[in-house]
Amino acid sequence: MKKFLWLWLIATLTVLAWGFHLAIFVAPTEATMGNIQRIFYYHVPSAIMGMVFPYVNLIGSLGYLYLRRNNPLRALAMDALALAAAEVTLVFVSIGLVTGMLWAKPAWGIWWTWDERLTTYLLLWLLYVSYMLVRRFSSTGQTYTLAAVISIFAGIDVPIVYMSIRWWRTQHPSPVFFGGPDAGLDPSMVPAFVWNILGWTMWGVFILVLRYGLERRRQQVQQQIANSALDAGLEGNA
């Protein structure tokens, strides 16, 4: 397992290095935005990852709630998955927001606009911050259940948020958003984009697995402590 992780890390770094090479040196300079556009190769993969990992979090949470009665040990593993996914989500969404702002300042002249996509994305970030807060604040025994419930609420909330912001913003035409790279990607830019998205997906999975392993070990240590306390109590009685 350890060997596999190392191999995976080396492969990830290689892909990322190749992606960097393609994005910075090989891909042609964009006509209107110039070199600023190159942040696109990092912004879009992070943004996409930030929208994929919430599903992993939701799956982990649903799995926890489903298993917690009849298979508590398996349920704990699901919770570790949910936690790892939530943290990776936060990292990617934060990177997506920051790189987006870095791009927006030279391209639009402003750091931020309350456009439909930006607002939705910010709300996604807020939801996951509150998820992490619940995990921090709740007492150890209930953290898993409460966090899973919050995750389900967030999962239901996200589509509603998306629709509501769309209605809000279609009523007021947004002034600064032009089609952007969505309008189509020049074929010469595609390799840089594809390699970067592959690299960052591998990186995300790597971090997820590491964080999952860490959380599993924390859970095991906690269980050992609880077990030894139980044993000590039994010996004391005997």
Binding site: V134, F137, I160, S164
Partner: protein
Amino acid sequence: MNFFWTTLHHLRKDLKLEWRSRDAVNAMLFFALLVVVIFSFAFDPTAAVSRQIAGGILWVALVFAAVTALNQAWARELHNQVLDAQRMSPSPAAALFLGKVLANFLFVTFIEIVLAPLFIIFYNLHVLGNGWLLLLVLPLGTWALVVNGTFFAALGLRTRNRELLLPLVLFPISLPALLAMVQATTAILTGEADPGLWIQMLAGYDIIFTTVGLLLFEVVLHAE
């Protein structure tokens, strides 16, 4: 039928408790009034433009007032281990939740009834759109706040920093509802836009989150 009677029982109990102490309603009322006064420092409340922001202020006042009361909503059940008794009782947990939501809904509605004339006096408001639509927007918005607020207050009951946690969880989840409430109220006050879409959205939000709350409340109540 059993569910209905249990809900009614919980509602009656909460109303009776509130009637004897009047803690929540008094606190909410005074708090909302303070917010209204403080906002008048920030801008000229009698100016014509204030109509544009009055909807936002009304809801901010109500939201903060509701949170102060919701934090206390379950604290009553903690005295003398009442909540543990509720957990052991065979009656449906969702009925306890629904009764609590209904009680809080009535409290916040009462605040709105008292606050509305004050708002009109202090902010020199007269409604330019269909005023009667407010009778639809206010209950729907209140329900959205109260149903999620009661749920998250129960969720945070045994956490550290309970009173801090409620707004931190409630506001992010309620943001679409808050957006709809403010937009609908502003549309009605200014008469410039059609609030229909926002009212539908609020109704949808209410239905969805009431269902989710009723389904998941048992999980939260027995979270150990």
